[in-house]
Each structure stands twice: as structure tokens, then as C-alpha cells.
Assembly symmetry: C2
Homo-oligomer: 469 residues x 2
């Protein structure tokens, strides 16, 4: 398929990861996960779009917390310098989409003041890409005529978690708010009823017109925010007052100008472990098993390990997920309740809801491999050429042992070059910096000693990633 | 209860740990485990016996692989210097018991050439200690009359894993070999049928007479072995030819001189996770839950975590056990099959069948917290006053960071005194030694670098635990 003229795409890549916990985390949501037998849903979405949208017309909408992970996955795809719009605060989809639409008009489509824009989430599965592209083509023709085009899928089950759309004559459609169970039962029996899967296509001018009509405050505030060129982003002081509202509530449920294209391309939301179990290839006992697993006669189960040996005996209809720091063992009919666990963890301020033990940074990543009274041990990996900030800690000394690669360590005013097996002490309050000058990964062990060992004991003096405050 | 005159006890503390895997391991069997809500079964056995057997009359029978862990638990109980007989090879119960009987006669009971000896496994639960002691008192009277006394419990379920004993008139009893299912069904319906729980009481002379009669080779070889005073043990070259045979096959199934005392003292074998679930206190949903667990509406389950967060949702009749390096998830009706998993692991030579990540040594313990290409990271804890051997490695350098306590490090000819936060490099082939001169535990991080990082790359020059070969 060739590029569609004047088409831009806004890929929604914010969102939080509650439903596939413990594999997804608040700071590592579903679309960033490498799913069993799949690439990440985010990368798959990008690859799918690049077949008919030029890379320079792709705009990624994310937030400051996820930006470095999104950038990492884009770098893994290719080295193209994509447009990555970073919300300075997490609002809902209406402000996120409007911000990117304004960015496209102001910065990208100078020669075409009214471009066509496709809005697409990055956490869905689409099996038949050909049919998906055909639907988009049809959508383009309707959007050119001035409609806000929505793409609907036939309901796959009784579910109150989706928005519903009722198709009326000649593509005209009406949005329903999320129904209760009784209403959902009636809706899914209707021939002309569809799930809203959050994919939209419109002319910029039409969308902005409808937004102004139904959510004037949103567009007024956003128009007053100036884009900084670098990230790009808008100032937090400006953005913080934008209403937190979904695109459905802000526009779609009110607009009289909605057209619907049915999607029949094997669309799936992958909203639970049960749905993922349905998606993946299974063995003769209907099990999906990945990791270092020894199973005796389990059935219809999803068993996924990342680090430890897992032995399963006679399980039925069960989900076992093991990650570096958390384990889920769940009746497969109850995987919706993972949300509840996530909520409980958030309430007790448990980090296992927010991050993995491995945390990605612009320069690479670190993994906390053990902590105890007065000490914490990390493995740190620094990408070729990357540099941590010039920094200092008030309450801990650090001790580094090089495992692989080459390190340039600044300590006070001196620079030391270190090889695997060599080591250096970083005393309390010593200004220091770690730099990988080589062409391969630098890996070190860091042993921290001190009475307070949290990430916020850091004074940054210089940082090539703009993190000096 | 006061001491019973001339009574010795042999505590059987060998055995391997298959059935409570992954908590038990080949080198860390069931009796050494700290069970949920319990002390270790081994320590409980010792404490129970000390009420009527003087400490100097307690003899522990174990093997070289388990000896240091047994010694550690005895030290934790008190500082008494117990008699610990170490088999130089793992045989079955007949040689182990006979070796300890000979030791008692030759070394301990000089003034009493024919002592009474109680044989007792160290991995059983006994709830009513008063009734247990009363049964032993009755047994003493029968043993004094010249019987080999066995203690039987009424069968608790249909089980082919036990030996059965049929009581005949006036305490006389007959052993049955382990029955098949059909025979077991008939046996447990008999009023006079008991399980053999492996507890025996006899005069030394009577036992040796019966052993000579029914397993002459065993006693002949053992009589020819000279005890070394230090461990104490006998030479491997002598012991290796002893037949590998259980006390039941060697003596009990043949002897015409068996008397039976029924045990009604809440005896339990704790042979599976299911049996342990029955034993422990449970919540209102009949769950036993220990560790960092968040549960939503599970029922009748045993959930035990040691290191990670475990979240369970809607499980029924399920066992989840999490240890540092392995997880078991098992239908509670199938916990007998853990043996199979253990066998599979042994076949694939998986260390998770043999050891925990934490390995105990005479000087303390170490835990491997991570390993990767070219490196291995351990936390090492050295007991107060303890010293590792003076040693050297051909293929790895080591790097130590002190986490807690005080270290005296010998490197080449120099001795360095190090405090928490300080560190030292041990180059390839450098003679070195780690010593804790302090009164509290010494804890260090060891980072090993090299292409070969196994425990057998060690040359020992001096060792206070006699490990220089």
C-alpha cells in the first residue's frame, strides 16, 4: 500500500498498565510490553502505520513519565527522529489528541493548513492488516467529505467496559455512553451496534470546530500554550488547567457529524490475561507455557515465568505470572480482578504497581538486585556513548565494579579509565560521573552504603538529557 | 519427667528432602526446615528428647553432606558438644543405626556394656509430648525384658507409603512389607493394624544379636571399622562396602522378638504440602497464607512466599510455594507428585533440587544473588570469630565490599582491617583469607570476575574446619 496523501497519524502512547499486572506497570504499560510470541503492541502499531503514513507524518502522544521508554522502542525500530509530543501532565484523551492536532497544524503541515489526521491507540491487536488498511481508505473518503470518522467492531461478548456506537443510515452514527449490564445486553442484540475502539479519522478543522463547540475550555487553554521546540512539549503551568476529559465525553457523544466504518480485521483489546490466553498459540492441553517451567498435566492455563524455575502440577484454568519482584496466581475466570490488586498495591504505595525492578533511563537501565539494612546493590548498564549526570549524594557512598565494557569515571576533578574486574570508590559527597566511551554496553555493579538509599538523594550538576532542575 | 536410667537415643538426621520441595532440598531436607508456625522438626525432636535423656546420651546420626547444617542447628539450641556420628557415605537406616549403636557401646557407655537405646527419626510431628513419654516408659519396661520394641500409630488414611505392623497377643507384633493398594485396604480395616513410624527401643545386645542373625554382612563390616575420634566417623574405605539396607528389611521383618506399643500422641509424618496444610492453623476461608501475599477470595489453599510479592485471586485447593529460586503451583490433591518434579530436576541436574541459593558453611553462609557471563555476585556472612580457609583461585579475581561488621583480610603477606563501605581487590592467584575478628556478623558483597566461576576453582592452604585435602 502506498502513502495516503496528506494523512497524518497521532499514535496514543500514554496510558497506564493495570490489567496485565504484574507484567505491566504504571510506568511500563501494556503497549510497551513484549508480549509472549509478539513484538510490543506499540512497535507493531508503528510498523502497521508506516505502510501508508510517511514517518515524518507520525506523531506520538505520550507523557513525561513514559517518554524515555517510548523513545527507546522507537530507536529499536529505526533511527528516525520521530515527532514525540510529551504532555507535561497526565490528562485524558481529549487534551492529548488536541495538543497533537495543534502541533501538526502549527509545526508539520505548513503547506496544508487542513490535513487529514488518524487517531490510533497503540495497545491493540489487529490481525488482518490488509482489511485494516482498506477500512482506513474508506475512512479517508468520508473524512474528506467533512465527517469525523469512527471505526467500530462488532461486540465480541457482553461487556460494560466499552463505549457503544449505533450505526444509523448512510454511515451516520451515534455514540452511547458506557452502558450498564442491562443496557449492554440489549445493545449487543442490535444488528447495528458496534464497540468503539478509539480509532478516529478527521480533517483537523472539523475536529477543532467540534471541540470548540462542545469543550471550549479545552481548546482555548491549549491554543494559549506555546510549544517549546525541543521535547516538544508545552509548559506545565499552561497545561495543568486543561480539563481532564476523554475524547468521547468531550466530542464524540455530542457531535452530529459522526460517520462509522465497520472494522473486520481481527481487532482485539487484550484487556486481561484471559484475553491474552485466547490470543496466543497453545499446546495440546490448551496451555500457554513460557519460561523455565516444568508442568505435570495442567490444563487450559497460562503460565509465564521470567526469572525463576516454576513447577506446576495439575492446575486447571489458572494464570501464573512470575516477574522479578511479583507473582500472580489467579483463576482464569477472574483475571478482570487484577485491577483490584493493582488498586490495593497503589493504596499501600507499593512500588510493584509502578515500576519493575529494572528501570529504564535515557542512558540505559539499572536493576536493583538486592537491598538490605544499610546497603543496596544495582546492576547498571550504560549504552555506548551514554553518560549519567554529573552528580553527588549526601547520604550514601558508592562502590563500582566493572563487569563488562569500558568506563570513564569522573571523581572529584580526576578521570579514571576502568576495565572489567577493576573498581572504584565514590565517597560521600564526591562529585562523580559515569561515562561509556566505548562501542559496546558498559555493565557495572554498584554497591551503595549508607543510612538512606533512595533515588531522591541526588544533586545533579550537569546532564545531557536536560534533567538538571 | 526425669531422665530414664541408662537410656541412650540415636536421632536419625540424614535423609533427603523431596516431598516438601521447593522448601526442602537434597542438601536441606525436611527436618532442617523452619516450618510455618513451627521451629525446625529437628530442633523440636531434640528438645522433646532432652526431657528424659541426658544430653551426653544423645547421639546424632547424619552424613558428611548434612553435618555442618546439623551442627549449626545444635549450636542454635545450646552450646553443648553433642555426639554427632557422620556416615562417610549415604547408606540406608540399618548401617546408620548399627554404626551409632557400636559407637555408644565402644565410646559412651563404658560402665554399662548393654545400654537401652531409643531410635527416633527427626522429621516427625508429635503433638502430645506427655503421652509420647508415657509410651517410651512402657517401651523401656518391655525392652528391659529383651524385646525389640516398636511404636505403632493407627493408620490415618489409605496409604501404600508406610510399612504396616500387625499386633498379636501380649505385645508381640509382626512387620509387613509395604503393601499394594488392595492389601493396604484390607490392612487398615483390621483392629490390630498399625503404621510403622520408625521409632524403636532395644537393648544394644539384643539388636546386635538380631542384626548378626539376619544381616551378618552389615555387622561384620561395621565391626571392622575403627572410629576416628575427631568427627567422629569411620573410614570411607571401610564403610563403602556396607550393604545399603533399611532397618525394616534387615531386622524388623524377620525378627521373632518384636513387641509393639501403640502411640496415641498426635504423631504426623508431614509427608506432603497437603499434610502440612492439615497441620497448620488456617483462616476463615481455610487458607494458610504466609509471606507478602495479597489474596482475593481464595479458598482451602496453602500460600507461602519467602521473597517476592504474591498476589492470588480466586484459587481453590491450591498450593503456591515461592522460594529464592523456584516456585511450585500445585493442585492440593496432587502434592504427592512433587516427588516426580524432584526426580525430573535431579535428572536434568538442576541445582534447585539440591541446594538453595543460600548455602551454609561451617563459618557462616553465602547466597548467590546474581550470575551472568563472566561474573557472579554473592553475599557472604561470616559468623563472629569465624575464618574462611587460606585459599587461592586460578581462574577468577574477587572484589569484596564490606556491608556490615569488621573484616580482617589477608592478601599475599599483608593483613588489612576493613569497615563497612570499604573494599579490597583479590587478584587472580593471590593467596587470601577472610576473617571476622569481631563479636557481630560480618557481611560482605563478593563480585567474582573470570571465565570460570565454579566452587571447585579453589586451592586451600589452611583451614580450621579440616577441609584441606
Amino acid at each position: 500500500m502506498t502513502n495516503i496523501e496528506n494523512l497524518y497519524a497521532i499514535i496514543l502512547a500514554g496510558g497506564s498498565g493495570t490489567r496485565l499486572w504484574p507484567l505491566s506497570r504504571e510506568l511500563y504499560p501494556k503497549h510497551l510490553l513484549k508480549l509472549p510470541n509478539h513484538d510490543t503492541l506499540f512497535k507493531t502499531t508503528v510498523k502497521r502505520l508506516k505502510k501508508f503514513v510517511p514517518a515524518s507524518n507520525l506523531v506520538f502522544s505520550t507523557n513525561t513519565k513514559l517518554a524515555s521508554d517510548i523513545r527507546l522502542q522507537l530507536t529499536e525500530l529505526d533511527n528516525y527522529n520521530y515527532n514525540l509530543i510529551t504532555e507535561p501532565d497526565v490528562k485524558n484523551t481529549a487534551p492529548a489528541i488536541a495538543l497533537s492536532v495543534l502541533y501538526i497544524i502549527k509545526k508539520l503541515s505548513a503547506n496544508n493548513s487542513d490535513p487529514l489526521i488518524l487517531i490510533i491507540p497503540s495497545d491493540h491487536v489487529i490481525n488482518d492488516e490488509q482489511k485494516f488498511e482498506e477500512a482506513i481508505q474508506k475512512g479517508v473518503r468520508l473524512a474528506e467529505k467533512g465527517h469525523i470518522v469512527t471505526f467500530g467492531v462488532k461486540p465480541q461478548k457482553l461487556d460494560t467496559g466499552y463505549g457503544y456506537i449505533i450505526a444509523e443510515e448512510s454511515n451516520v452514527a451515534k455514540f452511547k455512553e458506557k452502558p450498564d449490564l442491562e443496557e449492554a445486553k440489549k445493545l449487543i442484540e442490535q444488528e447495528n451496534c458496534y464497540w468503539n475502539c478509539g480509532i478516529y479519522l478527521f480533517r483537523a478543522s472539523i475536529f477543532l470546530h467540534e471541540l470548540e463547540k462542545y469543550s471550549k475550555e479545552t481548546i482555548d487553554i491549549l491554543k494559549s500554550c506555546e510549544f517549546s521546540d525541543e521535547m516538544p512539549t508545552v509548559p506545565y503551568q499552561c497545561y495543568k488547567d486543561v480539563p481532564e476529559i476523554s475524547i468521547d465525553h468531550a466530542v464524540m457523544e455530542h457531535s452530529q457529524n459522526i460517520a462509522l466504518i465497520p472494522l473486520e480485521c481481527g481487532w482485539q483489546d487484550v484487556g486481561s490475561w484471559e484475553e491474552l490466553h485466547e490470543l496466543v498459540e497453545k499446546d495440546s492441553n490448551n496451555n500457554f507455557i513460557q519460561g523455565d517451567v516444568i508442568d505435570l498435566e495442567s490444563e487450559n492455563s497460562f503460565i509465564y515465568g521470567t526469572s525463576k524455575l516454576i513447577s506446576t502440577i495439575g492446575l486447571k484454568n489458572t494464570v501464573i505470572i512470575e516477574t522479578e519482584d511479583a507473582i500472580l496466581a489467579c483463576d482464569k475466570n477472574r483475571t478482570e480482578d487484577v485491577k483490584q490488586i493493582f488498586g490495593l498495591l497503589k493504596n499501600r504505595n507499593d512500588l510493584t504497581s509502578q515500576v519493575h525492578k529494572t528501570v529504564y533511563r535515557p542512558w540505559g537501565f539499572f536493576t536493583v538486585i538486592q537491598e538490605g539494612e544499610g546497603y543496596k546493590i544495582k546492576i547498571i548498564q550504560v549504552n555506548p556513548g551514554a553518560k549519567l549526570s554529573l552528580q553527588m549524594h549526601h547520604r550514601r557512598s558508592e562502590h563500582w565494579v566493572i563487569l563488562a565494557g569500558e568506563a570513564l569515571v569522573t571523581r572529584y576533578e580526576e578521570v579514571h579509565s576502568l576495565k572489567p574486574g577493576e573498581s572504584i570508590d565514590i565517597p560521600l559527597q564526591a562529585k562523580h560521573m559515569l561515562h561509556n566511551p566505548g562501542k559496546s554496553e558498559l555493565r557495572i555493579i554498584e554497591v551503595q552504603n549508607g543510612e538512606y538509599l533512595e533515588e531522591d538523594d541526588i544533586v545533579r550538576f550537569e546532564d545531557i538529557y536536560g534533567r538538571v532542575t
